[in-house]
């Protein structure tokens, strides 16, 4: 008997996708990832819009990483229009992005992933069986949102982050409040990292793929791509190098670098590429399942970084300043940054202030090829396992990438 069967729909991930398991003689022999999410054609929607609308629209690609999308889009547009924002704006944007990182990682670890390790169905299961862990996660998540709200005006689709600056600069009082909370949660996080590293292994030892991340800027920002093989590609040529193309069976484009190589992006890649010595062996280890720990480590880093940014802002004195005015110019702008799930690229062309071309490459689209390959590896490793066991392992494996399918398809 041969055939295929879909995992009904991937759960505890953002967006719509399935994994199709191919079977032969009762055994699972292969797997296909299918991101069937409905496309919104953002790259086409943006064409024809005014420069001051592009980021507002583009951030709607995804809610969980809307802050990252917003900031990347703003930077790309500003680059195209040759707009220089103030240092304060830069710090605030960075802070918002770190807030997004905290929120997203806390959500992924405590609401979406942890249930796999603890044997429950989701956050509702956690609430019943592991209320302490859930509460801890929710507190971290709330803090991430508080940062995003303070800077962005709202946790999802942060309108206060505008072209050229911010609408209203947060009050020092409010920043101090956040700083206090960051400090209060800081010690707790060491516990979280310990807790996560003590969790039982949940997957067969599927090795990670070569890594890729943005670098050359403050944490999560950069102007170039760096790969674990040592390759470096500047932002302006990144899109060509990432080489997105359409493949059958997915509404998300797939990146085959140079037409062949496969990389993975995300927390594991970032840790491996940017701070190999500071973290535990296991977090940067070569196994895919270390992703969860990598996320926990990054959570800690994000808290630290947010604290530093706030101190900087307070030391330098936050104050209201009007956004830098833009003129409807012509030009090209490309911004790279690290969204919670990995490298994100926004690139726009403007003609007298009107967008004439848009290219957006998202982490989950980049990871797509890596997910496919990892699925194959997993199935080989699980050679003799039954369907149900393979199925649930496949879902766990996909969750290691914390895919954001709306982003991938956009």
């Amino acid at each position: 008997m041969s055939g295929s069967r879909k995992i009904d729909i991937l759960t505890r991930v953002e967006g719509h996708g399935t994994v199709e398991l191919l079977r032969e003689g009762g055994k699972v022999t292969g797997a296909r990832l299918n991101l069937f999410e409905s496309p919104r054609f953002f790259e086409a929607l943006l064409v024809g819009r005014r420069y001051d609308e592009v980021a507002e629209i583009a951030c709607r690609i995804c809610s969980i990483c809307s802050t990252a999308h917003k900031v990347a889009a703003l930077q790309a547009v500003e680059q195209a229009l040759k707009l220089q924002v103030s240092r304060q704006t830069g710090l605030l944007r960075e802070l918002a992005v770190q807030g997004g990182q905290i929120e997203s990682h806390a959500l992924q670890i405590f609401c979406l992933s942890l249930p796999d390790y603890l044997g429950t169905s989701g956050f509702s299961g956690l609430a019943a069986a592991f209320p302490k862990e859930l509460n801890q996660g929710l507190r971290l998540k709330a803090l991430g949102n508080m940062i995003q709200e303070t800077v962005g005006g709202r946790a999802i689709h942060p309108f206060n982050l505008m072209l050229g600056g911010v609408g209203k600069v947060p009050q020092a009082e409010r920043l101090r409040l956040i700083h206090g909370q960051l400090e209060a949660l800081h010690d707790e996080l060491a516990g979280v990292v310990g807790f996560v590293s003590g969790l039982p292994e949940s997957l067969p030892p599927v090795s990670a793929l070569p890594f890729l991340a943005a670098s050359g800027g403050p944490p999560l920002f950069g102007d170039r791509l760096t790969a674990s093989g040592g390759e470096t590609v500047m932002a302006t040529s990144a899109a060509a190098w990432l080489h997105e193309r359409v493949e059958p069976g997915s509404n998300a484009k797939v990146s085959r670098f140079d037409g062949k190589k496969t990389f993975m992006v995300g927390p594991l890649a970032r840790l491996k590429l940017s701070m190999p010595d500071q973290t535990s062996e296991r977090a940067t280890g070569a196994l895919l399942s270390s992703s969860l720990l990598a996320r926990a480590v990054e959570l800690q880093q994000a808290l630290d970084r947010a604290g530093i940014l706030i101190s900087c802002l307070l030391d330098e004195g936050v104050g209201q300043e009007p956004p830098v005015a833009a003129t409807p110019a012509s030009g090209v702008g490309t911004a790279l940054m690290e969204a919670p799930r990995g490298t994100l690229l926004h690139s726009y062309v403007f003609d007298k202030g009107i967008c004439t071309a848009a290219d957006i490459i998202t982490p989950t689209a980049i990871n797509q090829a890596a997910m496919e390959i990892s699925l194959q590896k997993l199935i080989l490793l699980m050679n003799s396992a039954g369907y149900e066991e393979v199925r649930s392992s496949c879902e766990r494996l996909i969750r290691c990438f914390d895919p954001c399918i709306s982003c991938a398809v956009h």
């Binding site: 009904d8 729909i9 759960t11 505890r12 991930v13 953002e14 967006g15 719509h16 069937f36 409905s38 496309p39 919104r40 054609f41 790259e43 086409a44 929607l45 064409v47 819009r49 005014r50 609308e53 507002e56 629209i57 709607r60 690609i61 995804c62 809610s63 969980i64 929120e103 959500l107 609401c111 979406l112 249930p115 169905s121 989701g122 956050f123 509702s124 299961g125 609430a127 859930l134 509460n135 929710l138 507190r139 998540k141 949102n145 005006g153 946790a155 999802i156 689709h157 309108f159 206060n160 505008m162 609408g167 209203k168 359409v246 059958p248 997915s250 509404n251 484009k253 879902e395 709306s406």
Partner: protein, 248 residues
């Protein structure tokens, strides 16, 4: 008390409305005692449609046949179907170019020789296909609205859509009017309130994310925008960002 059995899902969307619910960190533990999230693929496993639901909360607009299938199935299984968010209520950003040929848009993104997303159609709000019992608008909706929706449903009542504009809430907050005092293209007068005038309160003009107010006086608003230096077409384009139905 009997827990409320709900199904929550997203169609063509960014998952922001669902995330807005998951962002109710302070309330989630208590909410879990009142609400049984039966079908909520974004946050709970497994995602199998089974039995009936007291209410289905649906985010996003419709743009592919598989979504229509899911929506019809949820409609059949649920006592109440609630459109959550601007996309579900009005079409949202995804419907930005509904006046253009869908196939052309598809080719613009995927190229002429691909078969990806062949079945896509111009995004529709939910009420174009099913009966919608209540609407919570917003991109995304406010937390309080979602909590209110759930506590109301628990008692068998549906929320009523706020019908006054953002300006009213903006004025209640005593913030500076960006339209009259700063000549900004603020869509507050034409946009449904309920957000507490979040944007204008921070000095950012309302971008119209909650959809049109009933009885909008578009002609007069256009007149005012024109006085402030905005061409009708520019103002209309801005209006259509979240609701393709706007026509001047």
């Amino acid at each position: 008390m009997k827990r409320l059995r709900v199904a929550i899902t997203g169609l063509t969307s960014c998952s922001g409305c669902q995330l807005a619910l998951l962002n109710c960190e302070a309330e989630l533990p208590q909410l879990l005692e009142l609400v049984d999230f039966r079908f909520f693929p974004m946050a709970c496993s497994p995602a199998t449609l089974e039995s009936d639901y007291d209410a289905a909360l649906v985010e996003g607009c419709l743009s592919m046949p598989h979504e229509q299938e899911l929506l019809l199935s949820l409609r059949k299984r649920s006592r109440y179907l609630v459109a959550v968010g601007t996309c579900a209520a009005w079409g949202g950003v995804a419907a930005l170019k509904n006046d253009q040929d869908r196939e052309q848009l598809r080719q613009q993104v995927y190229g002429t020789d691909s078969t990806a997303a062949l079945e896509t159609f111009s995004p529709l709000p939910l009420n174009a296909v099913v009966q919608v019992d209540a609407t919570v608008t917003g991109c995304p909706p406010e937390k309080e609205e979602l909590i209110g929706l759930l506590t109301g449903l628990l008692k068998g009542s549906l929320p009523t859509l706020i019908s006054y504009p953002v300006c009213t809430e903006c004025r209640m907050k005593e913030t500076l009017c960006l339209l009259t005092e700063r000549s900004a293209l603020c869509l507050g007068p034409l946009t449904l309130g309920g957000c507490g005038a979040l944007c204008p309160a921070l000095g950012v003009p309302c971008e119209g994310c909650r959809g049109p107010v009933p009885e909008a006086n578009l002609a007069e608003a256009m007149e005012i925008y024109l006085q402030k230096g905005y061409a009708q077409e520019a103002a209309c384009e801005r209006l259509r960002r979240f609701c393709p139905g706007w026509r001047a």
